[in-house]
Subunit: 336 residues, 2 copies
Amino acid sequence: MATIKDVARVAGVSVTTVSRALNNYDDVNVNTKEHIVKVAKELNYVPNRAARNLVKKENTTLAFILSGLMKDGGRDNIVYRLLAGMYAFAETIDYDVALFTTDSAHQKKKSYVDFCLEHNIGGAVITGIRLDDPYLRDLFKSGTPCVLVDVDMDSDNVSSISINNEQASREAVQMLINHNHRRIGCIVGREEADVTIKRLAGYGMALKDNQIPYDEDIVVCGDFLEDKAYEAASQLLEQDSDITAIYCFSDMMALGAIRAAHDKGLSVPEDISILGFDDIPLAEYLNPPLGTVQQDFYEMGYHAARQLLRMAKDESRGKKIFIEHKVLARGTVRMI
Amino acid sequence: MATIKDVARVAGVSVTTVSRALNNYDDVNVNTKEHIVKVAKELNYVPNRAARNLVKKENTTLAFILSGLMKDGGRDNIVYRLLAGMYAFAETIDYDVALFTTDSAHQKKKSYVDFCLEHNIGGAVITGIRLDDPYLRDLFKSGTPCVLVDVDMDSDNVSSISINNEQASREAVQMLINHNHRRIGCIVGREEADVTIKRLAGYGMALKDNQIPYDEDIVVCGDFLEDKAYEAASQLLEQDSDITAIYCFSDMMALGAIRAAHDKGLSVPEDISILGFDDIPLAEYLNPPLGTVQQDFYEMGYHAARQLLRMAKDESRGKKIFIEHKVLARGTVRMI
DNA sequence: ATATTTATCCGAAACGTTTCGGATAGTATA
DNA sequence: TATACTATCCGAAACGTTTCGGATAAATAT
């Protein structure tokens, strides 16, 4: 493993000059530079990142902090797409991305704050962490640039990224109303989740836009879980036969709702329309394909990483970033 | 950001003693140790990983090298599960895992060999890389412990991990035969892929086991791509009306085959049985649920990482590791 | 009493970079 | 000719750890 010293020795120059040549400083003669580059190539020299990161203050690693990789078995693909997008950006600037999950089975000694300090992290994309998590404030205070996914918040060194959930939800429900649905059941996500609040607000606004009264009896909680949504939908279909559509705050919950409908002998969309949220890969393969609100998580990850870099370079302070969404009726939403 | 020097100063001992205390060496008095630990906690001290990795030879980072994160949009979830498993193991020993993809759109200057050198990688799990990739030999030669996913190979410092593809394929086809299928179309993956060769061998063996002649006319290539498989299946259904089942070497291809059947006005499994491979999350949500060969990619990732560590510690040399599989008929395979 | 072990600590070097503050020699300016 | 500038190079310190090879003093063995 060739080091910079080896290159210097073989090239007959100082370590300093090698470093400056390889980092494109302009105070090294073009001929010596060429020579150094040639020698470096011959020796298969690649600079050691640990050493580099040690001496430079700004580190070239971004953290992706999340609650757990295997939550839901990753079936919804959301975390994956966030990661892919984040990595795609990091790659363009030769940064690394380091994963950190908080929900390890074996009680973890380290918090993600320690993780960031230990790795001298340049910035962190955070998802699936509760806003009241005690460590979160510590992380914010540490000055590490942060981007929160799907949680509304902006202070000086923390940004947030998401679609405009309120608006998207409003459009989604309006779409159902345009299909002549009037009594629309709603299965919401975890109560405290920011997106739940936003989407519920959008649901309410769309109803109001169309002079449809809000009925809390047909708004139930599914906790973003398929099985919980199955229960919720079963209850909904049981108690209220006027419901013609069920709007779920996630596709995974929509899957539960569809199963509930089938188990009640109802067919989708003939007897009941179902609308999901997220557009997970599964959605379009379902038969009929699942109507949903499409979110581009890859894009979110990409822009989250980009924002991190900007904040690290002081080119931007914390801000809210919105990504485009799209309402798709597909096959599970029917005109009545 | 407190360093070890700060701790030493505050605790009134030398840097050496702090280091040895915190790393549980036994030549430091229990009282001083307690004191040091207390001071370290007070100062929120966490050791800097770059510095540590710099001085220790064995590095605490494992690489996950793959062709691309967004190939197929990651719909099949395979890469994700491998990563999750790998991370799960790495986490238990406080290792990091670093991603590296080879298919970046913008021509990448760095090879994964350089990546490993640069990061002083302790070992690499490799998937989706062609065995004839020129860099691969360089990586092997570099002495970095490697585990190849789904590629049969073992030399001294490279292991491989997979299910027993030949055996699994044989069982899968036997299952179809047990369902009284005799003329079984086969859509294989990329020709050079090791798993294609293995699964095709298994297909042949099962036929032979049951005195069914092998007919190359009903074995076509789908390149592991849904659309390519759609074409292949269409052709198969067109040219040979005796086929009662189509066996695909991946679930994504099975999706294409199902679509082809539907477009031909055939229903699954009444008119044609379809069997996939992998058990992607989608499979069980399909209607009817897709018969397939289940592979536990999470487990693969986990054991791959574990093997990496063993090789790094010289507790094991390169070897072949097999993971359990399971043949699932589910709804798309019908008894005739 | 002397010699040897043991428990506990520390100084300094090393890991592989980057970078600050010059140093040198040649060139242009006054 | 003396001065200032420019281009090119380099020595040494610094980043935050770990670890080798002692050093000291107390305890034990001879």
